[in-house]
């Protein structure tokens, strides 16, 4: 029986890569693309660092030698020792553990923010791009207004409104970032929609669902992944910036921003309090940037 799918396969010109992809699912294509990623040494190094960081952060309760708020006054303000690899702060809390827990909070916040921003933005962008018309025009005006509002300022105001804390932080960051994802997804859908493949498929009678699954989704996955890979460090930066100005996570919850601003008070005598958090933060951001560049190379050829 000739369904639209079989007719498509017969009539539309075959791209051997697509054939591979559709036969074995996304896996074969992914493996091929990943090889391109592997060629970028920096990206691979970044990925390894991130994996280690993630694992350590999630298992923080088991990995960290101390809890982040355990004070130990007799050991206050020590620099690196066997027991305290990164030293201790003014209350004797272990810096290594505090940094590890900061990493965990940063990951939670940034991932949550990206999830929210992407969910809202992708939905809005997809509907707007796919259905077009008045809905699209109105939505794009709203998006334009969101862009007119400086992102960081909006974040500060939102946190002032919603209060400080882990949960409000990632919701707030998500709210300031959805517009970017909306524009991206809409753009991808628009260009995929105008693809010749789609026109041909429609002529053969394929329905919307089929078109979305087969032609549109695979094409938009790449840019979205790249955007996410840059959105995560952006979220971390936003969170730490908020903590720096005292509107982020409440102490004793550690955040990279918190540690840096607290460390600055004791800078003259004990620079290790500010240097270790700053250095680890910087390295983490670099790692994400390298991975993002690698992903961009990987998906860039589309």
């Amino acid at each position: 029986m000739a369904t639209a799918a079989t007719m498509e396969k017969a009539i539309l010109p075959h791209n051997p890569e697509d054939a591979e992809a559709s036969e074995y699912g996304g896996m074969a294509k992914f493996k091929k693309d990943f090889r391109r990623f592997r060629r970028n040494k920096l990206a691979v190094a970044g990925l390894i660092y991130i994996i280690i960081l993630f694992t350590a952060a999630f298992l923080a309760d088991y990995v960290a030698p101390y809890h982040y708020s355990t004070p130990s006054p007799p050991h206050a303000l020590e620099t690196s020792t066997i027991h305290h690899w990164f030293g201790t702060d003014e209350l004797g809390r272990d810096m290594f553990s505090r940094i590890l827990y900061s990493a965990r909070n940063a990951i939670i916040v940034s991932f949550g923010a990206v999830l929210i921003g992407l969910a809202v933005g992708a939905l809005v962008g997809a509907i707007s791009g796919f259905y077009g018309g008045i809905l699209d025009i109105v939505t794009m005006r709203v998006v334009d207004i969101m862009f007119a509002f400086p992102q960081f300022l909006l974040l500060v105001i939102l946190v002032a409104v919603m209060g400080r804390g882990l949960g409000t932080m990632f919701v707030a960051i998500g709210i300031t970032s959805w517009a970017g994802y909306a524009r991206l997804v809409r753009g991808q859908i628009l260009s995929a929609k105008n693809n010749d493949y789609v026109e041909a498929a429609r002529c053969l009678g394929s329905g919307n669902g089929h078109i979305i699954r087969k032609y549109i989704l695979p094409n938009i996955v790449g840019p979205i992944i790249v955007a996410v890979s840059f959105g995560i460090p952006a979220g971390m930066m936003a969170e730490s910036a908020m903590s720096l100005i005292g509107m982020g996570l409440r102490p004793p919850m550690p955040s990279w921003g918190n540690l840096i601003s607290a460390g600055m008070m004791e800078m003259y005598g004990f620079p290790h309090l500010v240097l270790w958090p700053a250095a680890t933060f910087g390295v983490t951001l670099l790692a994400f940037t390298f991975v993002g560049d690698g992903l961009r190379e990987m998906y860039g050829k589309e």
Partner: protein
């Protein structure tokens, strides 16, 4: 005529955007939990009145609300604010009821502008030569180290760079002050901290732009005229690369303006950024709305100027 039409359309869209920003801010502020009465400055002023009994308190509250138009519905408050804003009158703030905000803003904004302008100059004066050298010495140690440095400048957030600079110049070497304002030496580190990323971005951009330009046919023509390498690179390649640089500078300016919020905190500089932060922390609504408005307006105007500048510089572009 085309030019005026273009300008008119842009101004209209800027005004609409600013109105939207102000409206959103107003609605958000009123959604915040907590009463104005509970805010510190207000509390202090109130304390003086509190002792005089309940009736006096209520009277004070009523007068307070009336003065700041807080008793009116929100959309009316927005209207009043915008009407006054159009003539640059922003009213008094909660924290300092005796000083109209427009006076405060003038001095604070100029401070922020000083830092950002120096940052911009650094981006050009340091970034462009960096990019040129990296392009000419492509794929050598010089190129890799310059580009590596740029990567750090772009990825590391400005406040982390600020902290690093302070540790290096104040703590370790003790040549520059950690904080404060008033003299030349207070300008250097903040401008550097905020300008680091733009320097890096400019350097990378110039490098790739020059490399691309050097592939063009007219470069060969220039050499065929017998011109020396320096003339060709600077007079032809760099000259053509500088024009698109203008489009990069716009976003860099916005980036620095917003970054100043953080850098001013780190260096404890009394600029517009600090004003915004304290307004948010203390729920000083008039101050908050005004500073947001100024930031957004500054960004949009700079983008407009950049677009116009680009059209002027590139003889091939005509404004639509």
């Amino acid at each position: 005529m085309n030019f005026l039409k273009f300008l008119g359309k842009r101004f209209a869209s800027i005004v609409i955007a600013l109105v939207a920003v102000v409206t959103i801010t107003f609605y958000l502020m009123h959604a915040a939990p907590g009463n104005f009465m509970e805010m510190e400055q207000v509390r202090e002023a109130k304390a003086a009145v509190d002792s005089k009994g309940r009736a006096a308190q209520q009277q004070y509250e009523k007068e307070f609300k009336k003065r700041y138009a807080l008793d009116k519905p929100i959309y009316q408050q927005v209207g009043i604010f915008l009407k006054n804003a159009a003539v640059f009158k922003f009213g008094p703030s909660f924290g300092n009821p005796n000083v109209p905000i427009e006076t405060l803003i003038a001095s604070k904004f100029s401070i922020t502008l000083q830092i950002v302008t120096i940052g911009l100059l650094l981006a050009l004066v340091v970034g462009v030569p960096m990019g040129v050298i990296a392009a000419l010495k492509k794929n050598t140690v010089a190129d890799y180290s310059l580009m590596g440095l740029s990567l750090l400048g772009q990825v590391i957030p400005s406040f982390v760079i600020a902290v690093g600079l302070i540790v290096l110049f104040s703590v370790v070497w003790g040549v520059l002050p950690t904080s404060g304002w008033g003299m030349c030496k207070h300008l250097i580190l903040p401008a550097l901290a905020i300008g680091a990323a733009p320097i890096a971005t400019v350097a990378r951009f110039i490098r790739s732009s020059i490399l691309e330009t050097l592939e063009q046919d007219y470069i060969r023509t220039a050499y065929s005229k017998g011109l020396p390498e320096a003339t060709v690179v600077i007079g032809h390649a760099l000259r053509n690369s500088l024009i698109p640089l203008v489009t990069v500078m716009g976003p860099q300016f916005s980036f620095m303006l917003l970054g100043s919020v953080l850098v001013e905190q780190v260096f404890r500089i009394p600029g517009l950024g600090s004003m915004f932060v304290s307004a948010a922390q203390m729920r000083d609504y008039p101050m908050l709305v005004t500073s947001t408005l100024i930031f957004a307006a500054a960004i949009m105007i700079i983008n407009l100027i950049v677009d116009m500048l680009y059209a002027v510089l590139d003889p091939r572009i005509k404004l639509e």
